[in-house]
């Protein structure tokens, strides 16, 4: 749905741009292609890493790791899995909701979701390319710590 919306918006602007200035529009498309081509090697590597990782860390394996352990150890486990894996939201949320039903705690799930979204160890080489080593590591470490704060807040609200 939103992907369609993105296409509509992008195409709309493209047409508008074309009407205003053909030359600039072609330049924009050239830039678009160049930027894409520029990070193609990283994109492809990320895709293969995600493939191997998710084949090993299947939803069943993740449930086993997060589901049975509770308390701080469970949270630590959940945060580590969340940090290293890269699961799209439409897979992650149903997985999280299934984990809840099978007995995982809200705090473990919250830290898992939060690290999954904010911390990206697989994508850190790409992030370093744009933000430099220090900023990328800082952002990810802070996001990791922050995920525990999110978990505590969820724990307080949804006890």
């Amino acid at each position: 749905m939103f992907t369609v919306l993105m296409y509509v918006v992008a195409f709309g602007f493209l047409v508008l741009s074309f009407i205003k200035d053909k030359k600039k529009t072609f330049l924009a498309l050239k830039k678009a292609w160049k930027s894409f081509e520029n990070i193609m090697p990283q994109f492809l590597s990320i895709l293969v890493i995600i493939g191997i990782m998710l084949a090993v860390l299947s939803p069943e394996v993740i449930s086993g790791l997060i589901g049975e352990k509770s308390g701080w150890l469970g949270m630590l486990m959940a945060s580590l899995i969340g940090s290293i894996t890269l699961i799209p939201g439409f897979v992650a949320f149903p997985l999280a909701s299934a984990l809840l039903k099978s007995g995982a705690g809200f705090m473990q799930i919250a830290v898992f979701i939060s690290t999954l979204m904010m911390v990206g160890i697989v994508t850190i080489p790409l992030e370093i390319k744009y933000f430099g080593k220090k900023a990328a590591i800082l952002r990810n470490s802070l996001a990791f710590v922050f995920s525990f704060i999110v978990a505590i807040a969820i724990g307080v609200v949804l006890r």
Binding site: M1, F2, T3, L5, M6, Y7, V9, A10, F11, F13, L14, S17, L27, A28, L29, K30, K31, W33, S35, F36, N38, I39, P41, L44, I46, L47, G51, I52, L54, A55, V56, S58, P88, G89, F93, A96, S97, F106, A110, I113, M118, G120, T123, K129, Y130, F131, G132, K134, A135, L138, R139, L142, A143, F146, I149, V150, A153, I154, V157, L158
Partner: protein, 179 residues
């Protein structure tokens, strides 16, 4: 050709690893190939509009305009724009970095770029709706409310901990990446 091999060396190494895994554990290897393939298709379907918008942004939005909107002195407006652009997007986080690169190159404040990245990673509107439907509104709302200050805090602390030289290097790198 040599250049191409060099650029894609990590990808090629990973492919070899995948093939080795396939040889040792056929079921895991097959599954990983399936996942990679479906993710690649997913990526190819989501990414074109993102890069078209990136190209248009690069060509049409003047540096002066960007500095006014998201630059050093943009204040609350810059923060709001960063949140809005990140939340309105669709696509994986790794597609956001090239756009962040263009923002930097055009003179956006570093903390605003980090807010954009934070919003893209957690407060994307389509994701929030999906989160609410599978985890419940209370879970989603709690996370959303605490994520907003959290994203800002992460952005400001990260920027504060970088010295001028490091920041300058990031901006130089951004222009270089976009050449």
């Amino acid at each position: 050709m040599k250049m191409l091999l060099k650029r894609y060396k990590y990808f090629l190494v990973l492919l070899v690893i995948n093939i080795v895994v396939y040889g040792l554990y056929p079921s895991v290897g097959q599954k990983s190939i399936d996942i990679t393939w479906s993710n690649a298709l997913e990526m190819l379907s989501v990414i074109p509009p993102i890069f078209i918008l990136l190209g248009l942004l690069d060509v049409w939005v003047q540096r002066d305009t960007m500095i006014k909107l998201m630059g050093e002195k943009s204040g609350v407006l810059g923060v709001l724009i960063a949140f809005f652009l990140g939340s309105a997007a669709a696509g994986p986080l790794y597609a956001a970095f090239p756009i962040a690169g263009v923002f930097l190159q055009k003179g956006s404040k570093f903390s605003n770029v980090l807010i954009f990245i934070g919003a893209w990673s957690t407060t994307k509107i389509p994701m929030l709706l999906f989160e609410a439907s599978s985890m419940g509104w209370k879970f989603m709302a709690t996370r959303f409310v605490i994520d907003i200050p959290g994203i800002m805090l992460i952005a400001y602390i990260t920027e504060k901990l970088l010295n001028e030289r490091e920041k300058q290097h990031i901006y130089e790198q951004a222009s270089f990446n976009n050449e």
